[in-house]
Symmetry: C2
Subunit: 153 residues, 2 copies
């Protein structure tokens, strides 16, 4: 099955031009509107040279404006994305090891792919992997004969 997934590896990558992103210097109010509009929880943060620099999520934004007693919404226009973004997250090279990605996707809803110089290449998502798994599960029984090596009693 691993081999069958590998045959489809190229199609898992959603290329950078089809992935919404936010700039580091954008303010949190802009980031919040972008996240609301696209309906995602987390998106990549890039610098002006389209290099991958972080991830920003709705919980990170709300957390940044959460005071002791209430939410300070006035702060949304003051804080820059780079001040609250997550910078410690896995980034993989292209071509990537599918097995490594499958393990990362247990914890992360998507994994970022970047080239050696940090340029953002795209993302691999849980959804794309599940799509392929469904397709392969269907094809599998038509194409292959499967036998248990040791019969269980």
């Amino acid at each position: 099955m691993a081999k069958m997934l590998l045959e489809n590896q190229e199609s898992f990558l959603i290329p950078a031009e089809r992935v919404a992103h936010i700039q580091m210097t954008n303010r949190l109010d802009h980031a919040l509107l972008v996240l609301t509009k696209i309906g995602y929880n987390v998106i990549p943060v890039l610098d002006t040279e389209y290099k991958l620099r972080g991830l920003i999520s709705m919980p990170m934004i709300i957390d940044a404006i959460t005071g002791i007693e209430n939410l300070n919404f006035d702060k949304l226009g003051d804080i820059r994305v780079e001040e609250v973004m997550q910078t410690d997250f896995p980034v993989i090279d292209n071509p990537y090891e599918l097995e490594e990605v499958l393990h990362l996707l247990v914890r992360y809803s998507f994994v970022c792919v970047a080239s050696d110089d940090g340029s953002f290449t795209g993302i691999v998502t849980r959804s794309e992997i599940l799509k392929a798994t469904n397709r392969i599960a269907h094809e599998f029984e038509n194409k292959y004969e499967v036998k248990r090596k040791i019969e269980c009693v």
Copy 2:
């Protein structure tokens, strides 16, 4: 592979008592704090009898307070969750058809499971399925002999 996933079916379900939820009559400010605290994008909405009634997400909350020019944060304390929650979403019975769930998970990050009377049983997530897929991919080549039925030339 479908059969191997089926053998693990029970372990995919995260039971209701381990899933954060929100009550229908909670206000949006409370919902926003719960979503921020747990770091999820979407969670189930239950009524006082623990019946599943909807889903609420951060984008739904922010969208509800988005005016023509800006965000009306004052409204967060006024609007009830039941006014903005999503009520049109797939709910499956337990025991469920794994194949159906796999297809739903391409579009939804989790699928809700409920009993006939609407009582919330739990959720099946992409993450749990991917965890099992990783494990099975490993076990597969040890336990089974796989042959192509028709050789490709």
